[in-house]
Symmetry: C3
Subunit: 404 residues, 3 copies
């Protein structure tokens, strides 16, 4: 094997540095196939140039932006309170400004507008009759309904084990509970925002976008921004100020249910920027969609409970609010692109592989379908017998190929 | 060179449209190598078809979802207060419902459950003795320990420059400070949640997912969702309601430390959806992991301070809480896929390149290892001398090749 | 066509399993071109090995981390109040600790430090004269300026339709409004943080990072972390505690405007980890940048309004704050990489395609530029006439090619 290896390396060396190897080509004069071949190649070149390089911007490097939005809501509304049960506060009126309905007051890429609040004022820890809505009815002789120290089904409080007259209707006896009293269901006031006032609320979305790869920072607010504008899909797509009414009108959803039960709305800001041109000509486009509507069969809308606590004479008190509202999420998507020589080469390179399709198609036509396929095969193929037994079997055809 | 250029273009034109060029093929009758060649090709085709196209879903276009989760925690617990220093409030009891322990009440893809609170009631700006824990001891003759108008080391207040008796022990004198008084360390009450009550808390996670590329919106809550369910890894993987106890049990961490010091837990919701089938059959899978445990050597757990401010007779007062608790982060991951003809072509195309491996392997066998490698080389190679000097050197072999 | 099809499949079968096909190679003894050919190939191999595999880490699988940061701010400052209008509170002093200036107290990957607050104490719903700054001047005979029940232009309240004396200057009459009174513009106190105190505030950022693909969890806080350190770009890049002053000094922005109007600052934590080495040697790098400065021509800085509500004798009251401040966003970027055999193969495979460049270049030299191009072409090409008419036309050249 030593001599074999020696020859192997000697041969490899000769091959490597003294002779250049290239594939042998058979030329077939045939105008139609040749034209077809070039047509196919042309189509592939057009595909690479137009689709991959130009349309898909294969000559660019891309990056998605990192972004932060700062959002301010402006607007004022009068709300009128209605007691949620027979007992309780009579009708009252309140003014809601931003500090009242935008809770929490600052979030990252999101904001919330309360549209309905069920407020229980002056809650204090203690004992009180459970609400009629809890359906914890009992009578003083049979107390099985009120198991002492167990949690009530709605987890608002613990049973004290006593049976007392309801606050809402003195003729009915209900279980007494140890809880934050009065219970929300028995004595609270409901406030609903006026839908016309809400429609006139405005949202100002100020977004700062960073494309680290290109060292570019952009804002949607420019020196030329006119702050008396209102966003309008057809007329003013660059305005950073939105009327809530316009947003709601563009959504295909039950608006009454949305305001009553709350909902989740996405404001999608899409930054598709071509930084081969002036970066300042890049403005985001905006689209709205409902992620959670107010009239789903199961678990519609959005609500949560929040308490504002205060302390009088050493005793904790709180105002409990069950808050329904519109939660807006600002999603920032998009890509920025900039010319990049490496990406251009990779795009072209990945396309060039498709060139082989033209060879395969034309070769297949000649091999299997063309009337002169025999002559084509004879020209294209030569036979080389390497094993003695097979050489004899195939000698005829091989000889024939050689002697054409 | 003009004539040369002319011939160049004339030749190029002829090549281009009148003759079709194809590589010349040498056929080697050899059953074993031929079969090996086909076997290798078959293996590569199987790899492309099964792994790249089928298993890796190379025929699909993919997109990650954008998602928003709305989270509600439900549960009630009694907490018992203990004064954190000798002086201070005696033991007291409080009821914690959602509004008390879920702070802030609404977040994006996250929620917090307070498990321990150190509460300082009725703080007011003024002067008071520093806490014994601050170790700011002094005596009235030497006041170096209390540098007037400097901040205390814990940055709770400013030294007034006076030395006064401690509130906690009248026999000890400490520096007086100008701060929100009383200081947290000297007079606060600690409340710890009962771990059995906490285990029975439930979390309802409602997620809305958007796949923009396919124009698909999905919720994890469907019309068929049964709201009395509890998530169970083996029996009910589709339930959107989780028992805190079940989540904690699934984590490998020190639970006592977690409740005492707080911690960070990730709830990972993975949406891997195949939209070639019914989109409604796609449900997320859920996994839990501890990102920050309560027993790390350095900086264990999570805590923060928050104040609820109120105003009595024109004076600001506040309830300061140092809140330890479980912070849950809902991460939404996954990919949705849908059939896409371009991706299928690209997947096949990228695999076809591997076909060359079969050629390389079989060629190498014949060239270097097969006993008839001489005859193979003679059949495969022809020599073309282009330079006069070299032509003479190689004439023998080239003639030999031709005349076989 | 039956016989044709039969022969087609018979031929295909023979081709497939009994004969191995390989391209015929023409060897051209030419040291210079051969060396050039190998040089080009070598360059491509070096490119693949060094750039694609080694530099771009083509042998690794990558994943971006999911991360959560827990942030604590520490520091204390004295603020001095100034009445914002002639009427109102005289100068007052307050102590701001973390609970006062870090609002909201806990966020995901973000925090806020209030640097200026305009506080309106003891607001209550009612009627009051509008502020002079509103410029709603009127006189008692002409009330057109005060349209009853319409909202004021700044949406702070509703006109009552009356014209009354201003609180700030009794000689001027202004429209009366129904609003939360007193109005912010007419009676509020402004507090500004001392910039030297602010510079000494510290931020502790504790980040937990997850690389799901590699099953790796990392924290930037390790057992060896020294908590008395301060981050320093040159000396201590691993310290998780940052001085606000150091951060502000590293930014190229108007600091005075930043503190007065507020701003948005990004803290970018970059986790670029090579998990082929010890994962514990991976620490994040940190960079700071201004996303929103305080001196933009349009809409500078950041501010929002928040109210703390409390209740005295059944009446809601609130402390309204217009809060300007520094909003910090912690962005976590980066990639973790680990050896992956499939990625290595794909990286090599994608590079191998470039090998064809060497063939194209050398072939082009021989075909079109080399002095012996005629002989090269004669050796490389053979002609196969498939159609009778064209065969005659080209017979000369084809004969010539054969008979060399």
């Amino acid at each position: 094997m030593g001599s074999s290896m020696k020859r192997f390396f000697s041969s490899a060396l000769t091959d490597t540095f003294y002779t250049y190897s290239t594939v042998k080509i058979v030329q077939v004069p045939h105008t139609i196939i040749a034209s077809l071949y070039r047509l196919l190649q042309f189509a592939i070149v057009v595909y690479i140039a137009c689709y991959i390089v130009w349309y898909k911007k294969g000559y660019q490097e891309f990056q998605e932006p990192r972004a932060t939005s700062i959002i301010k809501v402006k607007g004022l509304t009068k709300v009128f309170g209605n007691a949620t049960s027979g007992y309780g506060n009579s009708s009252s009126q309140h003014l809601w400004d931003t500090a009242e309905y935008q809770v929490p007051p600052m979030e990252n890429n999101a904001f919330f507008i309360a549209t309905r609040q069920i407020i229980t004022f002056d809650q204090e820890e203690g004992v009180c009759p459970s609400a009629l809505d809890d359906k914890l009815f009992c009578n003083s002789t049979q107390l099985d309904a009120c198991p002492k120290d167990k949690q009530t089904p709605n987890t608002f409080g613990y049973f004290t084990g006593k049976c007392v007259a309801s606050l809402e209707d003195y003729n009915i006896t209900v279980c007494e509970i140890h809880a934050w009293c009065p219970e929300e269901l028995s004595n609270s006031t409901e406030y609903i925002v006026d839908s016309n006032d809400l429609a006139n609320f405005t949202v100002y979305i100020k977004t700062a976008v960073t494309f680290t790869a290109f060292n570019i920072n952009l804002r949607n607010v420019r020196d030329s921004t006119n702050f008396s504008c209102r966003y309008d899909k057809t007329n003013d797509r660059r305005c950073p100020i939105f009327r809530i009414g316009d947003i709601l009108d563009s959504l295909k959803t039950n608006k009454t249910a949305l305001l009553h039960e709350g909902g989740l709305i996405e404001i999608r800001q899409d930054w598709t920027c071509n930084f081969d041109f002036d970066k300042n000509s890049c403005f985001p486009t905006v689209a709205f969609s409902v992620l959670q509507s107010g009239d789903d069969k199961q678990s519609p809308g959005i609500n949560y409970r929040a308490a504002q606590k205060y302390r009088i004479d050493g005793v904790d008190r709180r105002t409990l609010s069950k808050i329904y509202g519109l939660r807006f999420v600002v999603s920032i998507t998009g890509t920025g692109g900039q010319f990049n020589i490496v990406n251009l080469f990779v795009a072209i390179g990945s396309g060039i592989g498709f060139m082989i399709i033209a060879d395969i198609v034309c070769d297949a036509i000649f091999m299997y379908f063309h009337k002169s396929r025999e002559r084509y095969r004879e020209g294209k193929f030569s036979v080389c017998e390497v094993s003695a037994t097979q050489a004899y079997q195939d000698s005829d055809s091989s000889v024939r190929l050689r002697t054409i």
